[in-house]
Symmetry: C2
């Protein structure tokens, strides 16, 4: 299997199974420093990126936005002075798909 | 007094008084459709803007970022597919300054 950051997002259907159990543990280990969190009943991947000012934070937000369009998969991005919080999950399955891990790994490369 | 969107942000000092009472009511009336909210003990101005897709939302985020740099006053911007939530408050006084109302009015003009 290729490293996550070298994979492409695949079509996710409403009946696709969310990532769980040993697969989830393995992917979290590969990602390294992302956090799992629950938003209501929806599991999400989240990471806070720090920057030295606002322009740097906004430039990163823009790059994540370009990644989102390229992968046709769209995160929530909270931009503030010196920090950006990126949250990935898959609306279609109300949880985590392999696509979220691929995009999280690619987000790391943009920071 | 000029309309809010024609004013410029002024220097806010740590001992500047937050906007309250009748002044707050008047400014909220002038803004129209922003919400007051509390984040812990900090009063903030918040509004959700809707768009027809991700690219439109991200372009708006970028414009708000340019406004923030021009005014040297920086909001929190949450960007998702089809929507952007903008939150203004003044860190220095842990509350609302006239600058927040000026920037909220200018944010309306960017949507």
């Amino acid at each position: 299997m290729k490293p996550l950051q070298q994979q492409q997002c695949s079509l996710c259907r409403a009946d696709s199974a969310p990532v769980m159990g040993a697969e989830l543990d393995g992917l979290m280990g590969e990602l390294g420093d992302w956090q799992l969190q629950m938003q209501g009943s929806v599991q999400q991947l989240e990471k806070l990126f720090s920057f030295s000012g606002y322009a740097e934070a906004m430039a990163f937000t823009q790059r994540v936005g370009e990644l989102a369009e390229a992968e046709d998969h769209h995160p929530a991005i909270l931009t503030e002075w010196g920090k950006v919080r990126v949250t990935w999950w898959t609306h279609t399955i109300k949880g985590l798909h392999i696509n979220d891990f691929i995009c999280a790994a690619k987000t790391n490369q943009l920071a």
